[in-house]
Symmetry: C2
Subunit: 281 residues, 2 copies
């Protein structure tokens, strides 16, 4: 397994791979990998000849007071997991090269980024789209794989890739969950044992929403209220948002119709966790 | 000479050229080509194996009330000039494909885009950087050539290409001038015979600035005043700006030092013309 640090080194390697007809699959990560990332790598593996995984904790997508410094890091473990899961190349750019002195450029997607996580994390998605654009121009993949857990991010990136004709197929892979339903996340490490138990409520709330819809409920406020009730029974839960939106424009819906995204963001102690389900009506 | 319309067709051609080891030189244009563009094509020709010229009148870089509809177009003449000058491929995307329904992404360079032309054309540079990013991801050139006449644009694009690691060398080629010094521009076609004569004042003002600096003058306001006086003698001239800025940050200078950009934008009738010189002190 090859490790590449400089952006230009990554680009020359990508050029050589493309020139020799290899299909490049790419999984961008912030490291501290878990079974969710492993699943993304396996998806990339299935659909490409060469799997490149990037590790970069992107300062630009953390707001002031967020957990950039505290974000968990464990490079040795990450490299082991990537090797065991079938990664061929690990791209680890430095923050100094990603954001050189005088860095002044940003990529922005309007309309999809103002609601949900964008409302409580101003500037977050601008940081995400800018860094993903840079990672795609560095790695030049044919296929880039993102996780459904970050549903809004996935939609925003899909739009950016299309709008800037970045010439990569975007694959959104299903969320991988712990036995109790908690979505895998590097931030789960922040949870105390008690919070960890209560964090299972996130997915329980989503399952409740699905059940209500299956039983015929179509009024978003009623579903949201029941989800809120369920989460309120967990003393450590502080709800950031519970939203039901259409999957195209991420606009809140009152009456459910078509394909809808039920998305939640809840703090348990230091951890701000997100999760979602898509329902087809 | 090959003509390509679809973005994906351009990308597949670019991939094939890169895979076979050809160096791609790229000249993005808005068409209605003149000797200035021919010079850019010749620069690309010298430094690459395959010269691609794009023609796209980009609606996103025109403001309301600007000359998007009126902008001159003559495809047959353009194709002839490109063929005669040594272009190999002409990329002519449609506005519908460049800006599909739901288009929501923009690329922005902060700091270099607020002054000079950015002040009188709000949104202009965001339109330029977004379309140039798209043209670069479509054409995948090794080298992209821009004209020094659009000095601010050249600096903004150079910064964007570096910041987004777009993997193209950016070459800024010297301005090509008419015998009286007027910089070649597609917009010169707007000038009446009288305005055409007076438009020569643009370069005369820049030469005056150079002469004053050579004679030891270092006070920007004094130089600007003399340039203003010269242009005021042309009855059809309406000055948009006369600025002396540093070439790194494009910040106005009071006392000249280092490398400075003397830039002017003046309206003559319907034509808004720009020009500049760089002076080394």
């Amino acid at each position: 397994m090859q490790i590449i640090h400089p952006i230009s080194g990554m680009q020359r390697t990508a050029d050589a791979l493309r020139a020799s007809g290899r299909r490049i699959g790419f999984v961008p990560t912030m490291g501290y990998l878990h079974e969710g990332h492993a699943s993304l790598i396996r998806h990339a593996r299935k659909q490409s000849n060469e799997v490149i995984v990037s590790i970069f904790v992107n300062p630009a997508q953390f707001g002031p007071g967020e957990d950039y410094q505290a974000y968990p890091r464990d490079l040795d473990r990450d490299l082991r997991l990537i090797r065991e899961t079938g990664g061929d190349i690990v791209f680890i750019p430095s923050a100094e090269e990603m954001y050189p002195p005088g860095f002044a450029t940003s990529v922005h997607v309007e309309g999809l980024t103002e609601g949900l996580c964008g409302a409580s994390r101003p500037g977050h998605f601008r940081g995400v789209t800018t860094v993903v654009a840079k990672l795609l121009t560095a790695v030049k993949p044919h296929l880039a794989v993102f996780g459904q857990k970050d549903a809004q991010q996935a939609l925003v990136i899909r739009r950016m890739v299309r709008d800037l004709n970045l010439d990569a197929e975007v694959l959104i892979a299903p969320t991988v969950r712990e036995p109790d339903g908690l979505a895998m996340s590097s931030r789960n490490i922040y949870l105390s044992p008690e919070e960890r138990i209560e964090a299972g409520g996130l997915y329980q709330a989503l399952r409740l929403a699905r059940k209500m819809v299956q039983a015929g409920e179509r009024e978003a406020p009623k579903i949201i209220q029941k989800m809120r009730d369920l989460l309120s029974e967990r003393p450590s839960a502080r709800i950031d948002y519970i939203s039901i939106v259409d999957t195209q424009g991420l606009k809140p819906m009152d009456r459910l119709t078509g394909e809808v995204l039920v998305a939640v963001a809840v703090r348990f102690g230091r951890a701000r966790l997100i999760d979602n389900v898509i329902l087809n009506l």
